[in-house]
Structure formats: structure tokens, C-alpha cells
């Protein structure tokens, strides 16, 4: 295992110290429990939007803390959901008197820990669970679909709504609308290596890729030979389009994401193919986001996320945001 770290046990803490040093104007970073809070918190009268999850997905979620997006983020250990103590602490530290919306990615650990925090919080708390990964077959009898790339779009859009003054019920309703309109899928060309494990989470041969991976080094649903980029992009896009479904005439936000180790040149290349495939189907790409925004350590691979947008979502997407990882209008 080759990583730029000192000690697998202190990776998350050490990275948080780097974030604190890098963004003194934007973030207040607490270590025990680990919580990243926007520097001007609490903002009185504003619904706070809080998320969190295992570390290793940077910039998610700490990189999205700041004006117009998250009020706080709780990083767990690498690939491990945060504890309820962390979530509770985030709620307490940011409480502006208008309640808190918790954005929870649909993993058992995340759901349980956020749920426990919600039970203990003294302010009014609502939770929404995002489950946009079409690679997972949904069923009432299972843990359901994972939350993946859609989380980034959800946090931006709901964060903007909270910033403009929407109340808790409105933020929750908007969040549910976004969740019901967003779908994602990812693939890996290489595994990642969790620092405290020291060996790759899964093994891929030189000519194999894994389709339908999650963001924790979980194996995907299918292992197939590596093909050209146009096949890879279609392998992600087709299931997404069929699932919602998306149809000719739809307006979308297209998010082309790197899993961490895939460089921008490949990502742009894939993005161009996705745009072409969408144009061929009569789907209009209104906005796009291209980059490493929800990653899986150094994994090589990509995911696509498609959000069916309406005018309000577009307005909220365009609204100013000032965080370490996303910034515009300010």
C-alpha cells in the first residue's frame, strides 16, 4: 500500500487538520468528535443542512460545507458512517432555531446513526435518505439502493433553498423531489485500498472492470472485460435512463464524476460521450458538473449521475455557493 499518510489510525484526523489549515475562512474543524462546521455558524433563523458519512469520499461531505450548501459535515472513519454523537454534535453546533435537515446516504450504518442522533436532538430534525444507485436492485426486503453521486446535487440544491430562507418542511419536500428525480451508476477500473486494511478491496485482472460498484470498495454487480470509453459510458447511462425513466424532451443536469484516481482528461472524454448519447435521445443537458466530487479513495473509475431538473432546481443550482469544493457566484 502506497499512500501519502502517516498512520492508518490517524488518517481522518490528519486530513481534517489539513482541511482546517487550507480553509481558515470557510470552515471550523472540530476533532473530537470530528465535525466540520461552516465558519459563520450558527446562522440564526436558517434551516441547517447536515450530512456526513465515512471518510474516503472527499470532497464529500466536508468539502461542501459553507454558504449555500452544508452547515456541517460529520466524517466517520474511512468508509465507516459517523457515530450518532458526531451527528448530534453537528446539530447542536449549528442550530439556528429553524430546525435541521439531515441528508443521509442509504447505508444501514448511516441510517441507524443519523436516526439515533435525530432521536436525541433537542431541535426539530427531519431526515431524508438518498438512494440513487441504479446498480442495486431495489426491494422492500433488502437495505435498498445505495446513496451515491446524487448526494452532491442534493446537497447543493437543498443547501441553496435553506440559504434563501425556505423552512424545514419546504427543504424536506424539495429534498424528496430531488431524490425522486436523480439516478446514478458507477464503474471501477481498479480497486481502492482502505488504509487500515492495507490491501485492495477487490482484485481486478488487467483487462477487467467492475460495473455497478458502490463508493466503499464494495464489489459491483458484474465483472466484464474493459472496452472502449463509449461502451463504458453506455453501460452506465443506459440503466440510468431506463430506471427513472428519462425520456426525449427531458431537461437534465449531467454529473460526470471521477472515483478519485481517474484523471480529468479521461473524465472529460467520458463526459463528451455522455453528452452525445443524451443529445441522440433528445434529452437536453441544462447544467453539468465534471470532476472528482464523490470518490472512493484512489479508485480509478467513474460514475454518471442524471437529475431531471425543473426551473426551481436550476435556479437553486445556479445560486451562489462558497465551499472548498464548489464555488460560484461569490
Amino acid at each position: 500500500m502506497k499512500k501519502i499518510i502517516n498512520d492508518p489510525e490517524t488518517v481522518v484526523r490528519d486530513a481534517l487538520r489539513g482541511m482546517r489549515a487550507a480553509h481558515p475562512d470557510l470552515l471550523t474543524v472540530y476533532e473530537d468528535p470530528a465535525v466540520v462546521v461552516r465558519a459563520d455558524a450558527p446562522v440564526r433563523g436558517k434551516v441547517v443542512v447536515i450530512s456526513g458519512g465515512g471518510a474516503g469520499h472527499e470532497p464529500l461531505h466536508g468539502g461542501f460545507v459553507g454558504r449555500g450548501m452544508l452547515d456541517a459535515a460529520c466524517p466517520g472513519a474511512v468508509f465507516t458512517s459517523p457515530t450518532s454523537d458526531q451527528v448530534l454534535d453537528a446539530v447542536t453546533k449549528t442550530d439556528g432555531g429553524a430546525g435541521a435537515l439531515l441528508i443521509v446516504k442509504n447505508y444501514t450504518g448511516d441510517v441507524l446513526n443519523f436516526e439515533m442522533a435525530g432521536e436525541l436532538a433537542e431541535t426539530e430534525v427531519r431526515s431524508v435518505v438518498i438512494d440513487d444507485d441504479v446498480a442495486v436492485k431495489d426491494s422492500l426486503y433488502t437495505a435498498g439502493r445505495r446513496g451515491v453521486g446524487g448526494t452532491v446535487l442534493l446537497e447543493k440544491i437543498v443547501g441553496a433553498a435553506a440559504e434563501r430562507g425556505d423552512d424545514l418542511a419546504a427543504c424536506e419536500e424539495l429534498a424528496k423531489r430531488v431524490i425522486s428525480s436523480v439516478r446514478s451508476m458507477g464503474l471501477a477500473l481498479s480497486s481502492c485500498t482502505v488504509p487500515h486494511v492495507g490491501s485492495p478491496s477487490f482484485e481486478l485482472a488487467d483487462d477487467e472492470m467492475e460495473i455497478g460498484i458502490g463508493i466503499h470498495g464494495e464489489p459491483g454487480r458484474q465483472r466484464v472485460p474493459v472496452g472502449p470509453a463509449s461502451e463504458m459510458v453506455a453501460a452506465l447511462l443506459d440503466p440510468i435512463l431506463e430506471d427513472l425513466p428519462f425520456a426525449s424532451g427531458d431537461r437534465v443536469l449531467l454529473f460526470t464524476n471521477s472515483m478519485g484516481g481517474t484523471p480529468l482528461i479521461e473524465l472529460y472524454l467520458a463526459h463528451g460521450i455522455a453528452e452525445q448519447l443524451l443529445a441522440d435521445r433528445g434529452i437536453t443537458v441544462e447544467r453539468r458538473l465534471v470532476g472528482p466530487y464523490i470518490t472512493s479513495l484512489e479508485m480509478q473509475g467513474m460514475s454518471l449521475t442524471l437529475l431531471k431538473v425543473d426551473d426551481e432546481m436550476l435556479e437553486l443550482w445556479d445560486a451562489p455557493v462558497h465551499t472548498p469544493a464548489l464555488r460560484w457566484g461569490v
Binding site: S84, G109, M116, A143, E218
Partner: protein, 208 residues
């Protein structure tokens, strides 16, 4: 002969040591069908439990169990943190008034723990989770009519079998469920840690 508070603390320390020993095994199990953190999560949690036990002296078995519960809740994270945390919390409540634990108390504590896990996690037997180890353990402890040590021994045996029974199953809860059919053929890490914990507690109780 019942387990005193000191016996319970000794048993919990023994459990912590076993978790530490089996960390890598639990990581490997979770690597196959999950996200490779179960061993490290449990190690972190039980290391914190040991620190807490070094610093505090619980006055009753229930307080010892509650210390474990709150420590796991605040240090483990993931699915295992709230589930084991709830298990120990409910177990603590179930024996709140006792100065020593006999076989019957152990059975009640285990039943409460299972109820707590199911209430939180909504898993059923056959979903390939720790519930597959804990459910037979509760039944075995209930039918044992002997001492705390005997009840725990019966529970540990049953949990070990229950854990093995998860191998052929297709997971329906937790992270392994994302794999669908590919989850079959692997031992569920949480059921393994449950079996390990019960075995460690039983062995310690037998020596008490």
C-alpha cells in the same frame, strides 16, 4: 453461582481481547462482501471500552453493560456501532436491578439484546446478519437451566452454528445485500463477531 460485577468486567475485557485478536479476520470477512471495516470498527470500539473500564469502576453488571453500550455507540460507527450499542443498552436495562447475574438473567439480557437489534435493524433470521447468530443464541440460553456460565456456553455454541449458517445465504440486509447472489458463499462478519463475543464471555464466565 452468579456473575458479580467484577466477573462481568473481566468477561468484557476478555471479549475486547478476542475482538482485538480477530480484527484482521473480521476485516477480511467484511472485505469479501462488504467494505472491509468491521474488524477495525470493532477493534476501535472495544479498545475504547477497555480505556473506559481502566478509568471507571462500574458498580453493577448493568452499569458495566451500559458503559460498553455508550462507548460502542460513540466510537464504532457503521452498522455495527448502533446495533451492538443498542444490544448492550437493552441488556443493561434487562438486568438493571441485579448485583449478580445468574443463568436466567443472562437469558433475559440476551433476549433483550436481540429485540433491540431487531428493533433497530429490522433484520430477520435468514437475512445474513448478526441476527442469524444472536437468535439461536437467545433460544439456547433460554433452554439452558444452569448457571450464567452454562447459559453463555450454550448461547456461544448456538451462535457459532448460527454464524456458519450464514455462509450459503444471499444477504438481504446490510451492505452485503448490494451484492445480490454474489453474497452467497461467505460468512457474515457481524454474525462472526457475535459468535466471538459470546464465546469470549462464556469462557470468561466459566473461569469465574
Amino acid at each position: 453461582m452468579g456473575c458479580t460485577t467484577a466477573d462481568v468486567v473481566t468477561a468484557l475485557r476478555a471479549a475486547a481481547a478476542v475482538v482485538q485478536e480477530h480484527r484482521d479476520e473480521l476485516v477480511r470477512l467484511d472485505q469479501a462482501i462488504g467494505d472491509a471495516d468491521h474488524g477495525e470498527n470493532m477493534r476501535r470500539g472495544f479498545a475504547a471500552v477497555v480505556s473506559k473500564l481502566d478509568a471507571e469502576e462500574p458498580e453493577t453488571p448493568a452499569k458495566a453493560l451500559k458503559l460498553v453500550a455508550t462507548t460502542l455507540i460513540s466510537t464504532v460507527g457503521g452498522a455495527a456501532g448502533p446495533l451492538y450499542g443498542t444490544a448492550f443498552l437493552r441488556a443493561s436495562t434487562a438486568v438493571a436491578d441485579l448485583a449478580e447475574l445468574d443463568g436466567d438473567a443472562v437469558a433475559r439480557a440476551l433476549r433483550a439484546a436481540l429485540d433491540g437489534v431487531v428493533a433497530r435493524g429490522k433484520a430477520e433470521v435468514g437475512d445474513k446478519t448478526m441476527v442469524d447468530a444472536l437468535t439461536p443464541a437467545v433460544a439456547a440460553a433460554a433452554s439452558s437451566t444452569g448457571s450464567a456460565a452454562e447459559a453463555l456456553a450454550a448461547a456461544a455454541d448456538a451462535a457459532a452454528e448460527g454464524a456458519e449458517s450464514t455462509i450459503p445465504l444471499v444477504a438481504r440486509k446490510g451492505r452485503a445485500s448490494y451484492l445480490g447472489e454474489r453474497s452467497a458463499g461467505h460468512l457474515d462478519p457481524g454474525s462472526r463477531s457475535t459468535a466471538l463475543l459470546l464465546r469470549a464471555l462464556a469462557d470468561a464466565a466459566a473461569k469465574a
